[in-house]
């Protein structure tokens, strides 16, 4: 029983398929069970669901949410949290839209990414070096980023962005929407980073046991800095895609983004206690959320019912995964 005190991810790793150790692979596969169940159910219920154009449509909806949740996933893997992602998205969106409509595409993109990175670095310094709990540090940043956006925008809405910028949110390469391509590339990059590099393994180790990580000589503070910086950067990157997609920005753009982003992380099997999960799971989580909305629209579920149905399906998908996934887990002999 003493083995249970050690998290699976803290064990020495034997990377195999996709760079995943068997138990990590299991986490991803078990999440796919929930995703598959939803897909099969919707295919039976609606003849409009299982078409190429609809599946592309769902992937396109999942992409901005995934980008926002991807950096957050790394933070959660270290056992921390970043509550500022939605607000940073809002701030970056306003900066980008304002400067780009002002005539400077490069400056707009640079300012947005720079602001996101700066917010992330400040979060990182507060958490890693000043020892502020991540919940408080990033909650403070949530309001700071909001406040800056309010001051900057003065209640304005910016709209009408140039076509060459809008490509990243609304464009297509062949049949594939650009945001989906960005999602796939980001997923691969972060997946490799977190599973194939010492840095990535360090992130899991910190989440598994920060004390052990420090005692093993790992630069824990630098790694923590890194994940918060990536989270801020990814939030501002998501902002660019969203602005390009909607062709407009206002300060409330990021307002309702935090909880869905956290939900995508958790639905993807990443433990809020850290050390377990990964960005691949988060992609599945974002897809589940997009699928539920798609399904409700296709089935014509009434407006007043939708919030409740969404909550029910989120719980049911986790529950189905626990039951089905739990069995597979035991049969396969992996620790869960």
């Amino acid at each position: 029983m003493t083995m249970q005190a050690v998290r699976p991810s803290a064990r020495p790793m034997k990377p195999d398929l996709l760079g995943l150790s068997p138990d990590r692979l299991f986490v991803v596969v078990s999440r796919l069970v929930a995703l598959t169940l939803i897909v099969v159910t919707l295919s039976i219920l609606s003849p409009y669901f299982l078409t190429w154009s609809n599946l592309i449509n769902v992937a396109r909806h999942a992409a901005p949410l995934f980008l926002l949740s991807a950096g957050l996933t790394l933070v959660v893997l270290t056992g921390g949290i970043d509550l500022s992602v939605g607000s940073v998205l809002g701030l970056a969106a306003c900066l980008a839209a304002s400067l780009i409509t002002g005539g400077s595409l490069v400056l707009g993109i640079a300012a947005a990414l720079g602001a996101g990175l700066a917010c992330g670095i400040i979060n990182g310094v507060l958490v890693a070096y000043a020892g502020v709990p991540s919940f408080i540090a990033t909650y403070g940043m949530l309001w700071i980023a909001n406040g800056l956006a309010y001051v900057f925008m003065q209640g304005e809405v910016i709209y009408g962005l140039p076509a060459e910028f809008r490509v990243i949110g609304a464009g297509f390469v062949g049949p594939i929407p650009v945001p989906v391509l960005i999602m796939v590339v980001t997923l691969i990059a972060l997946h490799v980073l977190s599973h194939r590099t010492p840095l990535g393994r360090g992130i899991y180790a910190i989440g598994g046991s920060p004390v052990a990580a420090r005692l093993s000589g790992m630069p824990v503070q630098r790694r923590l800095m890194f994940v918060y910086a990536v989270s801020g950067l990814m939030a501002s990157f998501a902002a660019l895609v969203v602005v390009a997609r909607t062709n407009a920005a206002d300060v409330s753009l990021g307002e309702e983004q935090l909880l869905p982003a956290l939900a995508a992380v958790c639905l993807g099997g990443t433990s809020l206690f850290g050390g377990v999960g990964g960005v691949a799971g988060t992609a599945v989580g974002a897809l589940i959320l997009a699928l539920v909305l798609n399904g409700m629209n296709l089935l014509g579920i009434g407006t007043f019912w939708q919030a409740g149905v969404l909550g029910f399906i989120i719980l049911a998908s986790v529950f189905a995964d626990q039951i089905v996934g739990g069995r597979i887990g035991r049969a396969g002999g992996t620790t869960q």
């Binding site: 449509n57 009408g160 206002d250 309702e256 798609n294």
Partner: protein, 333 residues
Amino acid sequence: MKISRRQFTAGTLAAGAAAAFGALPSRSAFAQGSKPTIAFFVKNVTNPFWKACRVGAEKAAKELGVNMEVVAPTKPDNIEEQTRLVEDWIVKKPDAFAFVPVDYKALVPSIQKANQAGIPIVMYCNDMTDVDKVTFVGSDDEVFEYEISKYLFNAMGGKGKVVHIDGVPAAFTAQLRKKGFERAVKEFPGIEVLASQPGQYRRLPASQVFENLMQRFPQIDAVVSANDDMAVGIVEALHAAGRSGQTKVVGIDGIPDAIQAIADGKMFATADYSGHDQGYLAMQAAVRHLRGEKVPKQILLPVIIIDKENAGKVARTPEERSAPSWDKVVGKA
């Protein structure tokens, strides 16, 4: 520009006196020849609608020679914060409130306290019951969506397949607007409602919901959207799907990019729910009441439809808009 110390001191004294008179019971401010102060409440500093209200109110305040203080919660639409702000302003005792509640029920006790303190209150935009008010200035959400829907259905020759995009399910305005839509649908038996789904009053969710609906319905003749932000998102979604020109989209509010889309022929029409005019008339009503003029119990703005014909002429920003005529609007009410 040089200001002598004496002038500066005199200015300060005058300002101090104005502040002191402002603290005296209301209605007397005009009589005493000092400038009355009116606290103008908005729901937040983030939404351009409230900025338009503020800009309109500032115009009226300037024209009529009154001080206006804008009161906004830092957390958008926050009930607890607006409650505190109302209490603070009861203590400061301005000559009048021009007030909009962030929640039309939750703020009732606070406004009742302002009533007890004898502060005259002009409600604007969202009305409240169980409180004493000078008047309510606003637009009737139900009538607005009824009129824009009717305008659309007539243009469609009274028949076709229509999708409705709702606002935030819990929002009172969203419920009223949808009722207006349903009333119009009843009058046109040839109109078939394909679906009615929530778009949260916001562009991104609305465009995603509409993209989902396009998967299900190969033919959608028209869309009635409960606000313009969503309508513009729908226009974008149609364009991305290569279905522009097949679907007439209408909204409500008259935000700048919707007017632009209408001028460009991408969107069909909208109903002008002018925050500028509401703010302007609310301030007018408050000042006229302080002057002792009679103000009607309710001032409802007429529905003005913006379509391709007039979209080019409509002012896009609240600053550019001309002030509405009090006599014309009130005469109509």
